[in-house]
């Protein structure tokens, strides 16, 4: 485990202890940064309400520990791989809409999405030649437009 990860895992363990749920943290070090996943049945509490609790915990972890990390890296907090599954779904949806934009010539929209989700869409569509993405809006959540590259 990388040195920077240890305090985060300790924090997550203090959090679940306070919450009174028994959920081991699985740690995976990736080139993009540590991926921390709560496993065990009781982690379901954090995946309720469309994963709002686990997203909130991600934000707290970013605020509390993000500045100790290298610029390129990000901490990823998950429960029962709920967010990982959502990310896979979003990537598939982005590619599907990109193909649709290419075939029909019509703009496709996805969202509103938060910055993390938009990044996934931009990166997925970038793999497909001939289409381009743009974020529209000025709020925290924006809609991503997928259109033919002119």
């Amino acid at each position: 485990m990388a040195d920077a990860t240890q305090p985060i895992v300790e924090f997550l363990n203090r959090f679940t202890a306070a919450l009174g749920i028994l959920t081991p943290v699985d740690v995976e070090e990736t080139p993009d940064g540590p991926r921390l996943n709560f496993s065990g049945e009781e982690a379901e509490l954090l995946a309720r309400h469309r994963g709002e609790p686990i997203k909130a915990l991600q934000h707290v972890v970013d605020m509390a520990f993000g500045r100790n990390l290298d610029d390129e890296k990000r901490i990823f907090v998950d429960a029962l791989a709920y967010r990982k599954g959502k990310d896979v779904e979003l990537r598939q949806m982005a590619k599907l809409l990109a193909a649709k934009a290419k075939d029909s010539g019509l703009d496709q929209q996805l969202g509103p999405l938060n910055p993390y989700e938009r990044r996934i869409v931009h990166m997925a569509v970038a793999e497909i030649p001939g289409v381009t993405t743009e974020s529209i809006g000025d709020a925290f959540s924006k809609t991503v437009h997928i259109s033919l590259r002119k």
């Binding site: 509490l45 954090l46 605020m63 509390a64 520990f65």
Partner: protein, 86 residues
């Protein structure tokens, strides 16, 4: 009043301590009223920004997680954030 250590209080304390640089000055007070639970989080003056965050995003995250803790105990939770001491 509450009996024994409260889950909501413990959770808010752990989160707030991680967010501020002056963890020892974090205090959480919990009061019951008419079936609702009021949780007051006190942080050191000047550390308020850390727990509120840009656009109040950190405060929103704390409220979400306080509600999650409340869900476990069957409580409806309101979180207020203040600076100084109770």
């Amino acid at each position: 009043m509450t009996t024994g250590p409260s889950v909501v209080r413990a959770v808010v304390e752990v989160l707030a301590r991680a967010l501020t640089d002056r963890a020892d000055e974090v205090q959480v007070v919990e009061t019951e009223r008419k079936g609702a639970t009021l949780v007051e989080l006190y942080v050191a003056p000047g550390e308020l920004g850390r727990v509120i965050g840009k656009q109040g995003r950190t405060a929103a995250a704390l409220r979400t997680l306080a509600s999650t803790a409340g869900e476990k105990e069957g409580k409806i939770v309101t979180l207020e954030i203040r600076d100084g001491r109770p």
